[in-house]
Structure formats: C-alpha cells, structure tokens
Symmetry: C2
Subunit: 216 residues, 2 copies
C-alpha cells in the first residue's frame, strides 16, 4: 500500500513545484501544474499531490490556495542558513573606519553571510567592510576581501581587531595583546613582525569575526 518511490508523473510534479517555488517564491496552483505538465484534469493533480504528501515529499496546507510547500525549501529554514549585514564602506590603511552609528543602515548595501561564517543569532552589531589595498596582507586579508566586524571598543588578548593607531593615523587588522604597560599588535602571519605601542595610541574599532574572499 505505501510506496517508497514516486511514479514518473509524481516525480515530474515534484520537480515542477520545486522549480516553480525557486523561480517565483510562491507555490504553484493545481491548475498551474495541470496546465504546464499537460495533465488532463485537476483531480489527477490533486490525487498525486496526496500521494506526494503521504511520501513526505511535500506539505499541503489544507484547502488554501497555493498551499504547497517543500520541506527544506521553506523560507523558515533558509533564514536559518544565512543572515545579512550592512556593507558600510571601505577600509584602507590610512583612515579610521566610518562610525556605524552615522550610517543609514537601511540604505546600505546588504551582504549575505552564511551561517557557517557567522551564525544568524550572533549577527547583532555586525557590519561589513571592503578592503582596499594590500596593507592588511599580514592579517591574511587581501585587496578586495570583505571583512565582517562586530563593533566593540575593548578586546580580549588574542582577538583579531581593527585598531586605529592615532599617531600614525592608520587602521590595521592585527591580533590584540595587552602586555604590561603596552599593546602588542601581532600580525596573523607569523613571518611578520609585531607592532608595539602605548594603550593611549590605540582605538579599537571592532573585532574581526569573518572574512569573505572572491577570486572569481
């Protein structure tokens, strides 16, 4: 009685639904399916949709229009896989970061962040910056990379931070270490030399929590 596999027609219908939802964001109606798949009657579609639901391939929301949804394709699940953060501007070695509070977040371009990089639940206060130039190369960050920062003004030892060196008027990404009376800014690349400076000369502008690099 209970089949494991879909019939050809059921497979066609299933594939059609998935593509329809991916393309248009909403479920097809029974008559959409009937028409585009050249099925003779809506009742046949309905019949096979019932089978697909018994197989667990689809979920039918009873009696409501366009009520088919696909487990795994619902916005509910997708929204757990990614988040979005505003791209606030460009980071260069010579100038401080823009103040996140002074920027119209609603109009900033949005960057999609996979949950593998930053879980959506920890996306509060996070923003993105595009790196200009190769001055961050000792932090394993190249020209064109997008860095994800969480705004904070203090840091724990070992955290990678965006540090503004006031006297030098330069922003740099380094690992932060507080050592008796001075600050050590250690490049992520062990072949590079650290910077030593006084706490008064350092303003932490955020902590680096992710990097996205596209070489396409």
């Amino acid at each position: 009685m209970r089949r494991r596999e879909m019939s050809d027609r059921q497979a066609d219908i299933y594939e059609y639904i998935v593509n329809f939802i991916k393309a248009r964001g909403i479920s097809p109606s029974i008559r959409d399916i009937q028409h585009d798949l050249n099925i003779s009657s809506t009742s046949v579609v309905s019949y096979n949709l019932d089978v697909l639901e018994r197989l667990g391939k689809i979920i039918r929301n009873d009696k409501i229009s366009r009520g088919i949804s696909i487990p795994g394709l619902s916005p509910a699940l997708l929204s757990q896989e990614i988040g979005r953060v505003p791209l606030l501007g460009t980071i260069t070695a010579g100038s401080p970061l823009p103040d996140p509070e002074e920027i119209d977040h609603s109009r900033a371009e949005q960057i999609v962040v996979p949950a593998d990089v930053v879980p959506p639940t920890r996306l509060d206060g996070v923003y993105a910056l595009k790196v200009r130039g190769q001055s961050m190369i000792d932090a394993l960050i190249d020209d064109g990379d997008i860095v994800l920062l969480r705004r904070q003004e203090t840091a724990e030892n070992g955290q990678m931070v965006a540090a503004w060196l006031i006297d030098e008027n330069a922003v740099t990404l380094k690992k932060f270490y507080r050592e008796d009376g001075r600050i050590r800014l250690q490049p992520a690349n062990s072949t590079m030399q650290p910077i030593y400076t006084s706490p008064n000369n350092v303003r932490i502008q955020g902590r680096v929590i992710g990097v996205l690099r596209s070489l396409v």
Copy 2:
C-alpha cells in the same frame, strides 16, 4: 507623496507577513491579514499593501492568491543570493585532494556560498574544502578556512590553483605561472618566495575561487 517610513498599521502588517511566511512557508492572504489584525475591510489591507510595495518592503505578485513575498525572505530571491556546494573534505599540505568524482555528493555536507563570493550561475563543478594547518598561510589562507575550488586540470597564468607537487608529495595553493620550460608557483603574499619546478612535477587539482573564514 512618497513616504520614507511605514505607518504603525503598515509596520504591523509587514511584521505579520514576515512571521506568517517564516512560520508556514507561504504568504498570508489579504483576508488572513484582515482577520488576524482586526482590520475592518480587505480594501484597507490592499491599500496598505500597495503602500508597502511602493516602499519596497514587499513584492506583490499581481492578481494571484497569496502572492506576497518579502525581499530577502522568499526562496526566489534567496536562490539568487546564495548557492550550495558540497564540502568534500580537508586539505592538508601533505596529501593530494580527494577526487571529487569518488565522493557521494548527495550525502556530503553542504556549504552555503553567498552570491558575493561565487555567483550561483557559476557554481557548477565547485566544491569546498576545509583547510587543516597553516601551510597555506602564504596564500592568505589560515587553519580552519573553507576554500572554494572549481575542478580543472589546467590553469591560466596568474590564477590561484591547488597544485600537487608530485616529488615533494605536497599540495599547496599558489598563483600559477607558466614560464619558458618551467612552472612558477607564486605565493599570494609578496613577502614569500616563489617555487620553481618542472611541468611534469605539477598536477593542478582545481582553481581557488573563494575563501570563507570564520573567527567567531
């Protein structure tokens, strides 16, 4: 005429739609909104939905049932913003990459890739590997990074490739240059020295097209 902000009622409607879609995977009908928000008439809902559409907060699919979608929440838009590639394993300096053909892609863990890193249209033949160890650090790639590779056995000059050095039995990520009679493998980090070797000693295993790094 054109407002920047939503009215209270519009904000309520917008929030209701978002929650409805997240919870049920399909859009509410106008009468769902009317009923649950205690609005006197469907025309009021329709009126405010038009306003929301002008504001760009929602998209109405004309004349079809439950045709509201939220930019950034609909599978249609999401599928333009992200793609998925299989995470095929780990890359270390000492062993060649696993053969993508020998792996059961359907069961491999999937990595979400933002369109900013690799456009979904160019995701064919792309796979992901997790980096173990710091041997790739001169390619600006650290332990724990996820590298995205497109399988190919040849490369253009200047492309970043995963190269297997047969005699050394080592895999490394370098920029590829073919120079009269020899191959130059140039680190991405200009402070590092290049490797020179013969073409017979190099097997290209794929081209690096993206990097994801999580420091959370």
